[in-house]
Symmetry: C2
Subunit: 200 residues, 2 copies
């Protein structure tokens, strides 16, 4: 026990859900994770919350919350098929602190989708380009062309073809090739890249 026992951690988890991003907060109310002496902050987070479903975690910001507690917020990203059912629940009425941190989390994700391979943390293990496109649309908040998305990510070496095809649904259509992310750890794939919204 140290004299910094009141420091808490707060998780903001994002997951692509249809055309939108689903926002989940750790615990519903702020978790009361206490940071032990000499324990890295990430370890305290993992001890306080169920981070197993999260494919990527990064620190957002440390702030004094309006209720007086000092809290470090984290951005967690979950694949579409991840079970976020334990500590994580969506809040309908966000406190001002929550709303600001959610906005920061969303902005961070948007930016990193452009110049890193962070998509790996939102996508399931294998996926079609159409499925990946839906995830990018949800996270970026604007339309994305499947054609160009594939070309850009393959050129950067983020995507790999995987054996097999996804058969079409009842409506027909050509079977879709399956892909996976080449790496499941955050990498800066193109420092200067940008995925821009459509021109109009």
């Amino acid at each position: 026990m140290t004299d910094s026992t009141s420091h808490t951690v707060l998780g903001v988890a994002l997951r692509a859900r249809g055309p939108h991003l689903e926002v989940l907060l750790a615990g519903g109310r702020l978790p009361e994770a206490r940071v032990g002496a000499r324990e890295p902050l990430a370890a305290a987070l993992a001890r306080a919350l169920d981070v197993a479903p999260l494919a990527h975690i990064e620190q957002l910001e440390t702030r004094r919350l309006r209720d007086g507690r000092l809290a470090t917020a984290y951005l967690g990203l979950a694949p579409t098929d991840a079970p976020l059912d334990g500590d994580w629940r969506s809040e309908l009425a966000l406190t001002p602190d929550h709303a600001e941190l959610v906005a920061a989390a969303h902005g961070r994700l948007r930016a990193k989708l452009s110049y890193t391979n962070v998509g790996f943390a939102l996508a399931p293990a294998t996926f079609t380009i159409s499925e990946l496109r839906e995830i990018y649309v949800a996270a970026l908040g604007h339309d994305v062309s499947a054609t160009n998305l594939q070309r850009v990510l393959v050129r950067r070496g983020e995507l790999e073809r995987v054996e097999g095809l996804r058969p079409p649904g009842r409506a027909g259509g050509r079977p879709a090739a399956l892909f996976r992310f080449a790496s499941k750890h955050l990498e800066v794939t193109d420092e200067f890249a940008a995925l821009r919204p459509p021109h109009r």
Copy 2:
């Protein structure tokens, strides 16, 4: 006095100095700033360190230092003519914690120079394009063309002409136009911009 008295703040100040970036740390050793109850973190920083010479401050990362203390690190940017003489001193032998935070600070600055007007925090009140070019070279770590730097920053509306010319030195040369930054607060001037290093 709360039970979070051991939380400290650590300042990493950067200032362009000739062809290089000068790195200064707050206090020499880590400052022992205590964070009071319900006090915003930035206020604790300002109370602990002399931040008056810094034209911009932003939070970097909160981590458990190797000596056990929980510390929030800040990036501070100072204009070339700012007096950084009080709390701030350059450390020759950096601890591993310091070195990592300095690298993070430098990376953050490099990135933001591309898509924000953060140059305002490194430049003096008015300057010639040549002087600004030197600052960008120091911060980015690669050559920058004065020609293109001017065009890019003027197009984005970051730079404004200011009355008057800087007379040439003894070697002669055309007098240089004077500029200033249109805003002295951080703004995202072009979300997708990139200042790239020379091709070869």
